[in-house]
Structures are given as structure tokens and as C-alpha cells.
Amino acid sequence: MARTKTIKVDYLARVEGEGALYIRYDDGGVHDVKLKIFEPPRFFEGFLRGRDYLEAPDITARICGICPVAYQMSSLHAIEDALGLAPTPELRALRRLIYCGEWIESHSLHIYMLHAPDFLGYESAVAMAKDHPQIVQDGLAIKKAGNALVSLLGGREIHPINVRVGGFYRVPVRAELEPLRQQLLRARDLAVEGVRWAASLSFPKFERAAADQYEFVALSHPNEYPMNEGRIVSTRGLDIPVQAYDAHFREEHIEYSNALHSTLVERGAYFVGPMARYNLNYDSLSPLVQETAEDVGFPPFCANPFKSIVVRSLEVLYAFDEALRIIDNYQQPQQAYLETKPRESHGCAATEAPRGLLYHSYGIDDKGKITDARIVAPTSQNQKTIEDDLRHMLPQYLHLPEDRLQAQCEQAIRNYDPCISCSTHFLQLHLEHAGGNSGGNDG
């Protein structure tokens, strides 16, 4: 009889938030995989109910210290959808510009400080910096340029306060963008080198069998690489407006996790994030990004999640390229924001957070009070796929010593840059009726 073994990681390192991993396996296969997310639920959806609709972007920005812009963008687009408001092209461009800053910040933190040590054989970025200080310094310089972009448009580097429903509280004049342009140009050069470096790493071989191929899901836009808007598409033919999200995606509570698991109705697990965006939108990347990918021999479609570090580095390069394009074409908006008037309505939106699709929906009453809020973060959407990866990957690596096997599992989780803090914001409401019936509602 095969001896059963377990891999237990009580506290996952180099991920945002608190999570753990449990795997039970033997020579016959993997019997149980649980990515346990035990960071306490953060009740943001409940917190939003009864608040003014104009507060939603600032409140939701507090869900995550790494991707506050994503929360602001999804919330304000959802509320504008409810109000029937469309931002002017100039305001739309500025929103895209601040999103570029956040992609740069978030991706560079993950690439250089969190994921790189896995590939170079170090337990942490600090240990890696002893032997490779230049890699860390370059990564921090790239990140700093993203910080500067978010700081200029958001009013500060973290939890930006300048973004509002209808536009911005204040928009920059052209002269303010010029010094930033110089910094972005220098950092873009570093980003090109970053792609070359990432592509030169040695990657674990991992491809899923034909029957278990990923379903990549991302926004897609006819004219640009997706950030703020688009239809939701997938590699298996899904092509829906964001308003149809609830008809196609489902969330369920899993006993061992504080984060809800998302699935595609009647299809199951799916994969959001940089690899999904890249695979579904390669043609929309800028010529520089496509040329750089070709130079390093990176294909337009990639299904090995360990190579996500290359995709992230390509997206960093894209974000610099796109930010420079927006700055070069900048037309200062005539109005910093469009006036809004509340009405009883419901709206939803999805944008592309650094880690993937971020869906928000809100109900608003005629006084502008939020009556209902729902937020689906990328990590809860990827949680099932992460577990499936471990299930599929492990049999190929059972020959490894246990410590290396565990490290490989942790690296596989970090492929997704999970943000556990983001994924545990749900509200679980238990209702107990006088007659003794009880039920639950995961909001």
C-alpha cells in the first residue's frame, strides 16, 4: 500500500495576505489540494451599503495597498454605468494613464521582489540582493517610475485620492507631465532589459494535457490592450458584455477558505491575469512589445504559468509604452470631472487589475445611497485554477526531495501573484428564522 504524504505550508511567503497550503498525495497520485485563505473576511461589501455612491472609489481603494487604482477604476466605471455616464475621451485617457502606473508598480514588485528569488534559488529578495543587487535595483527603479505616475495622477502613491466618479478632482497641466516623461523613458529602457532577463531564466516544464487545458478569461477591446473596458472573452469562445457576467460566472463558499471560489457556469475553473490578457490580446500590444517578445523568442500564446514572469515583464514594458503614448497625445480635459446626479439604478463594470479581471456591481437608490455591492477579485477567480495546477503538476515532480517539492508548489502558487487580502472581502450573512430555518448568503 502506498504511503500517504502531506505537504503543509502554514504560512505562504511572498504573497499578499495570509494563506496556507495543504496537499495529500502518495505514489498513486494527488488526493487532496487545499489553498487555504484564512485572512479574515474584510466586509467591504457590507461596509459600502448605505454609503454615498461618490464614496465607493475611495472606500474600495482601501481593499488593497498594492492595487487600489484597480478598485477605484472598477467601482467608478460600475457607478457610471448605473448613472448612464460616459467619461470624455480625455478623461478616459487619464484613467488609462494612472492604470499604467499601477500595472508597473504591482508587476515590478512581484517580478523582482517576490517571484525572481524562486527562479534564482533564493528564499527571499533580501537573500537574492546579496548576490544580484543590480536586479533588485533595476526592479525598484522601474517600480519607482510607476509610483511617480500614480502619485502625479492620484495625488499620492498609495490609496490615491484624486480619482472620482465622473473624472478626477484635479487634472494635470501638460508641463507637469514632462519631467515624468523623462523618467518613464529611462525606466522603459530598463523594462526592455527586464524582459530579456526574465526570458533568460530557467522555467520548470509544465503543460497541461489536452483535456485539461486552461480557459483563459480576460477583457478584450477592439482598439487597445484591455485595461478599463471591453467585452469578457475566453479561449473557449466566451464573448459577452460585462453586464452578462452574473449569467456566466458563479461564486461559492468553500469550507476551508475565507475567499469565495469563482467558476464559469457548467465549465468550472478558469484563469485570469496577465497570461490571459496576453494570450487573448497579443495583437493589441504595441510594436515595441511585440518586437521585444519576438527578439527573446517568446511566443504570442503561452500556457506554462511558470513563464508568467515573462508575460508580466512584457506588460510592464507595454504600460511604459502606453503611458508615453498617452502623455505625448495629452489634451488637458476641459472639465476635471462630469457632474453626476443620483438615480435609482444598478450598474456593473469589469477592469483589468494587475492580477486580472476585477468585477464590481452596485445598486444605488434615488438619494445616491449604495443599496447593494458586489466585488469579485482576481485571486478568488484563480483560486480553483491554482489548486488544479498543483494537482496536475505534482505527479511530474514526485521524484524531488520533499523540500524542493514544497518549494516548487509555492512557486506554482506565486505564478498567479495571489493577493489574498483582496480576495477575502466578502460578506457572509447568516439568517436564522424564528421557525428554525437558517441560510447563508455570500454577498
Binding site: P40, I66, A129, P133
Partner: protein, 160 residues
Amino acid sequence: MTRDTVKGWAIISLGNRFRGDDSVGPYLLHRLRDRLGGIAEYIENSGDMTRLLDDWKARPVVLVDAMVVSGTAPGEIIRLDGLDETLPAGLSITSSHGFTLAETLELARLLDSLPLTLRIFAICGKDFSTSATMTPAVEAAAAQVEQEILEFLKVQAGGP
């Protein structure tokens, strides 16, 4: 991160304003800004420790933070010289991606980004949950730390 003026001294808070006792750092920063005005730069950091490398590089720094240490009571104050003393693991609990303050200092050493001096005032907390209010003992300790920092900076400036 909020910046007011660029001067020699930087006062940096770690912590999240919306997480109970973790808000003591930003709370103190706000009070010190009111008391001290433009003599220092005030920097609020809610978790991205890599930003400290730029924010504190080659300058004198006072850092205020909440911490969790088993066996300590809420409101207990820990004072440390960040460059000379060993930092407890419970510092900077809201740090993203598992970077502790001690690791950030080590990284700063390696990348030549250390502060000139680093005076740390940490207050032990109890409740760090989202939307909780600050524990009364922590709030009382914050008032004491505020006075200590004012006196510390006065001495550093050559005052009585």
C-alpha cells in the same frame, strides 16, 4: 504615501488607518504634523516596505508603528534604535508580501539605502480588524509617544 515638505528629518508612519490599533502610526503622524509643521517631512506608508528605501535613504528618521508581541499588554511602548538594535518580528504587521521591517533594513544595507539615524517608537496593539476603533490603552500610549517624539526632536535640534 503623503509628502508635505522635503527637509532633513522624516517622520514615517507604518500602518493602515482602517485597521483598529494599526492606525496608531498614521494617527500619530497626523498629530505630529499639526504640532511640528514644516520642520520635517511626513510620510504615511500603509504596507509597501520597498518605498522605505527611497523615503529614508541617508536622512534622520523617526518611525512610528503598531506591533504585536505575545506577552505584552496593549499600549506598551517599545523604543528602539533601528540601526543598532535587533528588531522584534512583530513590527510592521501590515507589511505587504511578508516583508518585515528587519528585512527591509537588511535590503537597505545591501543597496546602500539606509537612513542616517532611525529612531523607532512602536506601540503594542490588540485589535487590528478592519473598521475597528483604536483600543483606549493604545490611544493613551500614542499621547505619550507624541510627547516623547517632540522632546526627542527638540533635543536633536539643540534645544533645552
